[in-house]
């Protein structure tokens, strides 16, 4: 699971109003190279929750992203920033670990890069 997905996932348990973001417990993180496409990164930027991304990246061992969300000018001109964002979003894979709901503490295990988001009967 990559951070691009983590940034969109929220806890779906009944009664949990704001289950975002899920806390990452990183067991095993690997890096896989992906072709850099600045247009895609710019397109995704508008949808991201910046704080959650920075937190998530840090949990996966990548601390190069700036704390504050950069403004549009940086996005247009600064390619090194775009490359860092690309690396964080698409090239870091959480292979083993867990995602933890911020409200209930319920853990969603991650195996072979696949988070198990299946809810139990009483959580639906």
């Amino acid at each position: 699971m990559r951070l691009i997905t983590h940034n969109m996932l929220s806890c779906n348990i009944k009664g949990v109003t704001n289950g975002f973001p899920l806390r990452i417990e990183a067991g095993n993180v690997i890096e896989k190279e992906v072709d850099f496409n600045p247009d895609f990164i710019r397109h995704m930027f508008a949808k991201l929750e910046w704080k959650a991304l920075v937190e998530g990246a840090r949990s996966m061992g990548y601390a190069e992203l700036p704390e504050d969300s950069p403004d549009a000018a940086v996005l247009e001109s600064d390619e090194s920033f775009l490359k860092k964002l690309h690396h964080a979003l698409l090239e870091l894979h959480l292979e083993e670990g867990a995602l933890v709901c911020p409200k209930t503490g319920r853990k969603f295990p991650v195996n072979k890069g696949i988070p198990n988001m299946l809810l139990h009967e009483d959580e639906v």
């Binding site: 969109m8 895609f40 890069g113 809810l119 009967e121 639906v124």
Partner: protein, 289 residues
């Protein structure tokens, strides 16, 4: 196919390790899935600006449809309920992220983050109640509601479905409408039982774009039902496409040219390769033939 898989077992049990491997190694299935995925992507009508989008593949299984999405240059997130199918996807090193989850429990994605969603041969599984606590209507509601929320404005969802019967199709359409979607049904090759494929094309947001017509061998207007976006009169008019066929037995003097031409036309409509009609069609041959 002797029996519909949905009638045999719930998807996470039907698609166990053996079935998952069988499914993915069948070249026929791989080919069909690729074609269906391409058509679904076409129907998504993503802007042709060369910018890759972030798509959702619902019921992604072993990643067959996901691979088509990657080929078109987009990034994707796949959801499936069968761990065995997802394991095959991991083995095939698909480029999208995979989630093990039940679409009937809601997608759990933030609002407005998805640029488009496709689903190949998966949504009909929602109509079966596999556990006593399941109520298909509630599951469909959770699914369509969460899908509507996570799609960005103007995004579309395209589902290729194999509904068991009209009732099932109507149930799916009705739930989609109630969730706020507009859209229509696109049917390719409606006259051929073998080639017929149905795509449910759902739109959200008030972007009014025309839904494409379905494919057909001869250029007739194709069956396409638009249902209104108006929430008050959420009417879905569906009728089963059964064109009355003119039945005429060949007359006693043998098969007339008229009959032959009609049969050839029927075959053409089904999508078969038929030689062109000419002055030789149905010509009287020498008695030795």
């Amino acid at each position: 196919m002797a029996n519909r898989p949905e009638l045999l077992a719930p998807p996470e049990i039907f698609y166990d390790e053996t079935e998952a491997r069988k499914y993915t190694s069948s070249s026929r299935i791989v080919d069909i899935q690729a074609k269906l995925s391409e058509r679904a992507l076409e129907l998504l009508a993503l802007p042709e600006d060369g910018v890759p989008r972030f798509l959702l593949d619902i019921g992604c299984g072993s990643g067959l449809s996901g691979e088509t999405i990657s080929e078109y240059g987009h990034h994707w997130l796949g959801l499936d309920i069968s761990a065995s199918m997802l394991n095959v996807a991991v083995e095939r090193e698909v480029e999208g992220d995979l989630l093990l989850g039940d679409m009937g429990q809601g997608l759990g994605l933030r609002p407005g983050v998805i640029d488009g969603a496709i689903s190949i041969s998966a949504v009909q599984w929602l109509c079966n109640a596999d556990k006593t606590s399941h109520e298909p209507r509630l599951r469909l509601k959770a699914f369509f509601g969460s899908l509507y929320r996570c799609l960005s404005r103007g995004a579309r969802a395209v589902f290729q479905v194999y509904p068991e019967n009209i009732k099932q199709r109507e149930l799916i359409l009705r739930q989609a409408l109630q969730a706020g979607f507009g859209g229509g049904l696109v049917v390719d090759y409606p006259h051929s039982t073998k080639k017929r494929k149905e795509f449910l094309v759902l739109t959200c947001g008030s972007v009014q774009t025309s839904i494409q017509t379905g494919k057909n061998e001869c250029d007739e207007g194709c069956s396409e039902d638009d249902f209104s976006e108006d929430e008050e009169s959420g009417m879905v008019s569906m009728s089963d496409r059964n064109r009355p066929r003119k039945r005429q037995k060949p007359n006693k003097k043998g098969k007339t040219r008229e009959w032959i031409l009609r049969k050839k036309e029927q075959s053409r409509r089904k999508g078969n390769d038929v030689p062109a009609d000419s002055k030789y069609t149905g010509r009287k041959r020498k008695s030795c033939f």
